[in-house]
């Protein structure tokens, strides 16, 4: 056999290490590497999910491990879906989601658009703007609680300054009408920078030559904005909406710190209500059904949304 560079290279390549040592195939080695990850995934994600689905059909209570557990069929689901209080929690969550996302997208995109313009102190402003999202939600919740304090709170004084109202004449956290907005304001203050950063990445990904071509075609600035900027940033914006939507659907810490779900149940989002059912009332079976309903809702909405996002990206 004539020696060629190819045959020499083939001879120089050692047989698979595993086969040399134990006679394992490449596929087996691949499984050895992937196996632990799959096992962990099954153990901490899939198994709990299946177990939760199982519990959702029972009257199990985790604080009474010795009590007999009965299968109650769809009773937990029926109770949840026909409970008017839970629908009020859903409404509160929907209000929170809609307004936080809308405001964060509008303000975040505007800020990104402004920051994207080159001006002196650009970097400093970017750093200042992103500061709120670096804070812990517990800290943010606590200090906004002080800001909203009707007697000494800065927020009330600022509003009073502009409206001429008495600062202690309104209570952001204690009023049924204002409390839902108070949590929207804080979440928007904290997470708008996140949306801004994503939009900024989108804006900076648009090549300058596209705008130069538009200039040559005598497209106005407004036209450039609506036909170039918006469509090219849209996938980024949609991604930001997805992230914020998922995050805010499970919002807990910030709202608990601010209002504890009150006044009454005005700001009791589904996650707060779920926590109360599961770990304060210990209705584990009922809470499992509740969690499954929320999971299906988020999963379904997110799937539809991701499909739409992919279509936008393909355009």
């Amino acid at each position: 056999m004539t020696e060629t560079p190819i045959t020499r290279a083939a001879q120089a390549t050692p047989p698979p290490m595993a086969r040399k040592i134990r006679g394992l195939s490449d596929r087996a080695i691949a499984w050895i590497f992937v196996g632990p990850t799959i096992f962990l995934l099954l153990a901490i994600n899939i198994f709990p999910l299946i177990w939760t689905i199982n519990l959702s059909f029972t009257n199990f209570r985790a604080n009474r491990p010795n009590r007999e557990v009965d299968y109650v069929g769809l009773r937990n689901y029926e109770r949840i879906l026909t409970d008017s209080d839970i629908w009020l929690n859903m409404q509160a969550t929907a209000h929170f989601l809609f307004w936080t996302i809308l405001l964060q997208v509008l303000i975040g995109f505007t800020l990104a658009y402004l920051i994207n313009k080159k001006f002196k102190g650009n970097d400093l402003w970017t750093t200042i703007i992103v500061l709120p999202m670096m804070l812990s939600p517990a800290v943010v919740g606590n200090f906004w609680k002080f800001l909203y304090q009707p007697q000494i709170g800065l927020f009330n004084y600022i509003v009073a300054f502009f409206t001429g109202k008495d600062p202690s004449s309104f209570e952001m956290l204690g009023s049924v009408d204002l409390a839902p907005w108070s949590i929207v304001i804080v979440d928007t203050w904290m997470w708008t920078p996140f949306v801004m950063l994503i939009c900024l990445a989108g804006l900076r990904s648009i090549p300058d030559y596209i705008y130069e071509a538009a200039e040559i075609d005598r497209a106005s600035k407004l036209r450039q904005f609506f036909t170039l900027t918006i469509p090219m940033v849209l996938p980024f914006l949609m991604l930001a909406v997805l992230f914020r939507g998922i995050e805010n659907f499970k919002m807990f810490d910030l709202v608990v710190q601010l209002t504890g779900g009150g006044p009454g149940s005005t700001t009791e989002l589904t996650s707060i209500n779920l926590k109360r059912e599961a770990f304060e009332k210990w209705r584990t079976g009922y809470a499992s059904a509740y969690a499954i309903i929320l999971f299906v809702t988020v999963f379904g909405l997110a799937s539809i949304y991701v499909k739409a996002l992919n279509k936008v990206k393909e355009r």
Binding site: N63, L173, G174, G262, G264, S265, R283
Partner: protein, 439 residues
């Protein structure tokens, strides 16, 4: 042979000595809420350490997290606590779920008689089922919800005259709930020494038990009952009786017309802060805090006085306080029982009261000097004579959260009527008792 025997004897002696030492000197952990009396208990327990050789560790949890933290600990079978001073409402769950050690045999063996403790405290803190002779705790800390006020303001001539002019009567400690509201409304937004002050600090907290503990301070004096017949869970007509509706409306009016602005989610800490900062003329809180309030250099001493929750149709105060239990999951139960035996001693109980704890021992309470031993001692005795407690069922947390929601929805969030709130509460409680198999 001799050598082997000697070795064996030596080994046994060493082992015995080792076991002996471990039996005599345990590291005990006592769990309770983080508040003033807990500090007094640390001080008191030094005597136990000196006498027994055991060392005491303490796990004090802030009140807002106390129930969550401790019930999770018990439900998970944790052995963090050897001794637990748990809320009175936990006794049903503690007994039925096997969290607490039943103490009857121990009491019998050690000659500890429940007859030596105030009846109301034994009933509330120790027994399950209620009123039976099954004891799961020793009354440790008697407590009830009471009131304190700015005595210096009440004694000022200008304020007294203004009150007389406004109401036609003398400014004094209220004798009824309605008088209480009238006084609070009088002080609401009044200028005193250049500062705007408010009527009273009441409980409105939503998350744990606050508003329930506050509103029952009005419900009980109006004659509120949980059931028509005790033990039957027949709540219709009792929970939503006309008296209950009136009391709930009263509490809402109190909240709306006589509390500081922004007072929508306030409990013990906020009540103390409001009073100590000179913001309110009166405040409700647990007697447990009264020694600390009296000792406060700014608003204590001559400036403060105390009164029992005023009656309306009848006397009634919301029960606080706790019993001390041995946790069934502890592996140091003998040493824990030793602590209970020591704590039940009348001399220790007297010292407990002297340090700022509220003894429930008759030897202390019935002492001729007790009433004059502190400015709030007489009120405490009076309050404990008419206390009423929340459900103590194993499902108490569920029952409590339902009440928190319904009352907060009505009083603070202004949703629906008092009757509707109480009707919904009956629905919630009925569902819970049905799940429990009690209805």
């Amino acid at each position: 042979m001799t050598y082997s025997k000697l070795t064996a004897v030596s080994a046994l002696s060493l082992a015995a000595a080792g076991f002996g030492a471990s039996a005599q000197a345990e590291d005990l952990t006592l769990c309770w809420a983080a508040w003033d009396p807990a500090n007094a208990l640390v001080e008191l327990s030094k005597e136990f350490e000196a006498q027994s050789g055991h060392s005491m560790n303490f796990e004090f949890i802030p009140w807002p997290n106390f129930a969550d933290r401790m019930l999770n600990e018990l439900n998970s079978g944790g052995n963090l606590c050897d001794l637990l001073i748990g809320d009175s409402q936990w006794i049903g769950g503690g007994a039925e779920n096997g969290h607490y050690v039943k103490l009857n045999d121990f009491f019998d063996a050690e000659g500890i008689s429940m007859g030596d403790f105030a009846d109301a405290t034994v009933y509330a803190y120790s027994t399950w089922p209620k009123g039976s002779e099954n004891y799961y705790a020793l009354p440790a800390m008697g407590d009830a919800n009471g009131w304190f006020y700015r005595k210096d303001w009440f004694e000022r001539d200008d304020i007294k005259a203004a009150f007389k002019e406004a109401t036609g009567r003398e400014l004094a400690e209220p004798k009824t709930q309605k008088e209480l509201l009238e006084i609070a409304q009088f002080f609401q937004e009044r200028e005193i020494d250049g500062q705007t002050v408010y009527g009273a600090a009441i409980f409105t907290e939503r998350g744990s038990e606050g508003i329930t503990m506050g509103v029952t301070g009005a419900l009980y004096p109006w004659g509120f009952k949980y059931e028509n017949t005790p033990g039957s869970y027949d709540m219709e007509g009792a929970v939503n009786s006309p008296e209950a509706v009136e009391a709930l409306e009263f509490y809402k009016e109190f909240y709306e017309t006589a509390t500081p602005p922004g007072y929508t989610n306030s409990y013990m800490g906020e009540s103390l802060d409001a009073f100590k900062s000179g913001q309110v003329a009166m405040a409700m809180n647990w007697f447990a805090f009264f020694p600390g309030l009296y000792a406060d250099p700014n608003t204590g001493g001559d400036k403060i006085d105390f009164f029992v929750n005023p009656p309306q149709n009848q006397a009634g105060s919301t029960l606080g306080g706790q019993g001390i239990s041995v946790v069934a999951y502890s592996d140091k139960q003998d040493a824990a029982l030793e602590y209970i035996k020591w704590f039940a001693d009348p001399a220790v109980q007297q010292k407990w009261w002297d340090l700022g704890g509220y003894s429930a021992h008759n030897a202390v309470l019935e002492s001729p000097t007790f009433k004059d031993s502190a400015p709030f001692a007489g009120d405490f005795l009076e309050a404990m004579g008419a206390v009423q407690d929340f459900w103590q069922e194993p499902a108490y947390a569920e029952l409590l959260l339902a009440m928190q929601k319904r009352i907060h929805d009505y009083v603070v969030a202004d949703q629906g009527t008092a009757k509707e709130a109480l009707d919904k509460l009956i629905e919630d409680w009925t569902e819970t008792f049905e799940d429990e198999g009690k209805l």
